[in-house]
Amino acid sequence: MSKLQQQLEAGKFVVTGEIGPPKGTNIEPVLHEAEEYLKDNVAAVNVTDIQTAVMRLGSMALCHMLIDRGIEPVFQMVCRDRNRLALQSDLLSAAALGIENVLALTGDHVVMGDHVQATPVFDLDSVGLLAAISNLEAGTDMGLDIKGNPNKLDGVPKFFKGCCTTPCSPTPEAQMIKLEKKVASGAQFVQTQAVYDPGAFENFMKMIEHIKVPVLVGIVLLKSAGMGKYMNRSVPGVQVPDQIIQRLTDAPKEDRAKVSVEIAAEIIRQVRPICQGAHLMTLGWDHCVPGIIKQANLT
């Protein structure tokens, strides 16, 4: 059983981190950051899968390298780039490499990235992908043999399966229904899209009370007021309150990182009683993770 699953089952407030693979083969900097700032501070580290459709090194390779360094990875998988053959095959490969946590996502559309001419695949959606993982765990794939029975696997993988949801979506009820379907298809934990408004998050958590899986609140570190404004303009389902943007605007340049950490820690402190953990997305500022954890009183 993965450390992430153990800690969540033990009822501990769990913290996860996140790294993005580089565009190129220069993996040392990101691995160094993970060892230096994440290893002893978080239960597991998500590795993004061609995030925002910007081509880069693969999630599975980096997950494997994290394991080699004693860091537990969460293998993110999006439905944008692979059909069901490749997705299932990669799941078997991941299991063979010792990867235990998987996060199933739809994935941003191809046109959001830097290869806009590429074919968007979406052969499965996130619900279908979770069902496919559950199927593999039950020893069969999605194909049928000549007699019409599901193909049997020789050696069966086991994962701790996660999914995402957007608590501050303009249509929270639609998000809730999709989350119900993800959980019915096998999702065992949730990491949310960025939350800056504890009130809206609390409303959503009340709405999904009947869905019995641990929820890790998504915390995206706001590096500047400009980033906050950008998120309000361009990132769907994320609202940064004006008062937070104001605090970053007012902060002198040299204090900005400090204020960013304070803001993140405050949100965690506020929502801690109503969720089961926090997923920290620091967008390269991994050195801030220890500070957030400390200020959020999670040590």
Partner: protein, 234 residues
């Protein structure tokens, strides 16, 4: 020609499971060419729906269901029969089902699967389109097609990309298809339809069957279009 094939009767009755009364509309345009539309079909469906213990409030056969004016006139005359029904069962391609859904404030349920329109969207002037997926899910999506309206053709509900103004992440000009479906289902009081699990799609159903490709009608229709889809594609 718009190639369609009938859904199994059990599947149709399942999607009508919670409707006590049904109005039946057939399209006697393209479907007839595939032996699935027409009067005989309407009679068979009426018998099947009645056989399942439901009330059939009426039926209509319309030459081209994608012709907005025609549908308006024909259904307008028997509007009480249509509105007396909880659901409208439509025997046409995906465009026709959506056209009916657009015109009547009732749940529309497809009786056919659309295999191939050769990109032909009929005479329908609205933005409803059919992507010829061969496994029509309009019964559970408020009569709006997620294959063509959603930028990722998602079938189990919206992704996280819906913006505050209901736009899709791909462009401010692209309304989120699942937001539209959600709003329509809300209007119809049928939010539970979103809970329906839709299986992964069967890509084979999107290919035009050779038998249809070889028909003269297919060749004629395709060559009549301004921008013909080459028969070798797919």
């Amino acid at each position: 020609m718009n190639a369609t094939e009938p859904k199994p009767t059990e599947e149709i009755l399942e999607s009508l499971a919670d409707a006590k009364s049904v109005f039946i509309v057939g399209c006697s345009g393209c479907p007839v060419g595939c032996d699935v539309g027409g009067e005989k079909w309407v009679d068979e469906m009426t018998a099947a729906v009645r056989g399942a213990g439901k009330d059939v409030t009426g039926s209509a056969l319309i030459e081209l269901l994608c012709n907005k004016a025609l549908v308006g006139i024909k259904l307008g005359r028997i509007v009480e029969q249509v509105t007396a029904a909880e659901a409208v069962l439509v025997g046409s391609c995906g465009v026709g089902v959506q056209a009916v859904g657009n015109m009547v404030a009732r749940r529309t349920v497809p009786a056919l699967n659309t295999i191939c329109l050769g990109d032909y969207q009929g005479l329908w002037p609205g933005e409803e389109r059919c992507g010829e997926c061969g496994e029509c899910v309009l019964a559970y999506t408020g009569g709006l097609c997620p294959i063509t309206l959603c930028a990722k053709s998602l079938v189990n509900g919206q992704c996280g990309g819906t913006g505050d103004n209901g736009e899709c992440e791909v462009s401010p000009d692209h309304p989120c298809g699942w937001k539209k479906i959600y709003d329509r289902l809300k209007e119809l009081g049928r939010i539970d339809d979103m809970r329906r699990m839709i299986d992964p799609r069967d890509a084979r159903k999107r290919a035009i069957p050779d038998a249809i490709r070889r028909t003269t009608r297919y060749a004629l229709e395709v060559s009549e279009q301004e921008d013909p889809a080459p028969a070798s594609e797919e």
